[in-house]
């Protein structure tokens, strides 16, 4: 089954991931790619505390994730790989060009970001970074939960995304 979803979500592990996606996918494992979390036992323990015992969670820096991606993709269980921001996912794709699709699951408001969808706010630099991923052949779509329609980068930048939310 391997990693079925490469998701950018600033909440990382949370309800939409574990339940919203996890239940319909029969999720077997999560890969959390974050250089800071990979260095912190405390952060890892925090994310493990509430996760159901049948769900494995692997923590990795970008460099480690690049090296282990093929191994995770040989796993017979379905998995989700998470990064908290676009830059981390881009660096992972730089290291491992086999990633062909990225899900924008949640990037929330902060100064300088413009609302594109109710769960997606982007700066001009972040838009440029996503366009660059598309030019490299990576399909970029926004979708917070499986019940909502995937919104293409073009649609969400043109403001055509919300009508598709289930």
């Amino acid at each position: 089954m391997a990693i079925e979803l490469y998701r950018i979500d600033d909440r990382l592990i949370h309800g939409q991931v574990v339940v919203g996606w996890g239940q319909p996918m029969s999720l077997g494992f999560l890969v959390l790619v974050d250089d800071e979390v990979a260095r912190s036992e405390w952060e890892q323990e925090l994310y493990r505390m509430g996760v159901p015992p049948n769900l494995d969670v692997f923590f990795a820096s970008v460099a480690e994730a690049g090296a282990r991606l093929d191994e995770w993709n040989r796993d017979k269980r379905p998995g989700i790989l998470l990064t908290s921001d676009i830059d981390t996912m881009t660096r992972l794709i730089d290291a491992k060009s086999s990633i062909r699709a990225v899900n924008l699951g949640g990037i929330h408001h902060r100064a300088g970001r413009i609302e594109r969808l109710r769960y997606l706010y982007l700066t001009a630099d972040e838009v440029r970074a996503l366009r660059a991923l598309e030019r490299r052949g990576v399909e970029v779509t926004a979708r917070d939960v499986p019940a909502s329609r995937p919104v293409s980068l073009d649609d969400l930048l043109e403001g055509n995304g919300e009508e598709g939310v289930a």
């Binding site: 949370h14 309800g15 509430g50 929330h108």
Partner: protein
């Protein structure tokens, strides 16, 4: 009231709904402050929860979904705040907690979970055709 309030932190409007139900049943809804994670990043959620704990002096934070962002935000406070986190909150748990003010927060939280958890059960009706 002189006692510090407790915080109910949950997805969507759940916390406000639970606190409203506590108020309807006991008139003690003001013992809780409701907070939602809606529209907040995990970083912003943590900042706002810390501010609310500091502002209210709350010792107990009730959260809804284990592994949810509310739960993880509350767990983050365990590192440097003297708080108690209760996960998987339901209405009976809050009702038991709020109606036992004579207990310490630790005792009240533990007892409320002990009483609240078993209230979740399945009751079957009459099968079709009978």
């Amino acid at each position: 009231m002189s006692e510090p309030v407790s915080i109910v932190l949950a997805h969507g409007e759940l916390a406000a709904g639970l606190v409203s139900a506590v108020e309807q049943i006991t008139g003690m809804g003001n013992c809780f402050v409701a907070m939602s994670n809606a529209g907040l990043s995990s970083a912003e959620l943590e900042v706002r929860l810390r501010a609310l704990v500091d502002e209210t002096g709350a010792r107990v934070v009730f959260t809804d979904l284990p592994a949810g962002s509310c739960n993880i935000a509350a767990f983050r406070l365990l590192r440097d705040r003297d708080v108690i986190v209760v996960s998987g909150v339901n209405l009976p748990t809050l009702l038991h907690f709020v109606t036992h003010p004579q207990l310490s927060p630790e005792e009240a939280a533990a007892e409320a979970v002990e009483r609240g958890a078993p209230t979740l059960k399945v009751t079957l009706g009459t099968p079709r055709g009978h």
